[in-house]
Symmetry: C2
């Protein structure tokens, strides 16, 4: 099922998108942490139990990276791809082994560029949710999206 | 050379930290993108040349993950580790193959917790800089840091 290719002009505030799902394993958590966030509570079950996480937890940046994967593979199919200029991220709860994540997104603002008439900024608010419906992360991202040629 | 273990109470606004460095390869960029951000401009040199990046560029989330690695391995050595509640991220320039990144950080705010006297929030502003001195990313992160026992 092809998702429709969306330009800035096709989007409206309030448009919603739901991604597919992604299951996280303990091995994934440790592998990501070993490369990018080598702290005991992301690397070792026993050390994690002694920490304020109370058990193995994914790096927040791992949750962010999985969120991006879910957006790219099953979020809005934006013209020119998903190009972020930045955003605000909040980690609400840890991602745990065997969690199944999905991303619910909503367009919250549309800002046409004054200097570049061929593009605009789409502010997309994404909630990353686990299989129990708990929000593990919120991300409000500024995406650069191409406009339809006049 | 051991870095000093820092509690909330040891930090002051204006304190600065410089990380070690990390070289990024084209293979790293493609591997991260293949797993977390599978878009042509992060995966393939030729497709990247045709894109608005004008050449292979790392996923912003890859730059963020490398920044975390540099903070964990060579930034402030915080009591209880580097525990982020969230933050604001901005990507200023692409990370390219063979870039050598480092992270310069500064404490910009210290917020004692009212409800939890054993901790506080440290607002740390980090600039990720390449070998040409160009800022590729800024991150203003809220970190939870333990207080010294009274």
């Amino acid at each position: 099922m092809d998702r429709e290719l969306l330009y800035f002009d096709d989007l409206a505030v309030g448009d919603k998108f739901t991604s597919g799902t992604h299951e996280v394993t303990a091995d994934d958590i440790k592998r990501f942490a070993g490369e990018f966030d080598p702290q005991p509570f992301h690397l070792d079950e026993e050390a994690a139990r002694q920490s304020m996480f109370g058990g193995l937890a994914a790096s927040g940046w791992h949750t962010a990276a999985i969120t991006m994967r879910l957006l790219v593979t099953g979020g809005p199919r934006l013209a020119n791809g998903i190009l972020g200029a930045g955003g605000e991220i909040e980690w609400k709860a840890p991602t745990r082994p065997a969690d199944v994540l999905r991303v619910d997104s909503e367009v919250v603002e549309l800002i046409p560029s004054r200097s570049r008439p061929d593009r605009g900024v789409v502010v997309l608010r994404s909630r990353t949710v686990n299989q129990r419906g708990e929000v593990v992360q919120t991300l409000t991202a500024k995406l650069m999206v191409a406009r339809r040629a006049a």
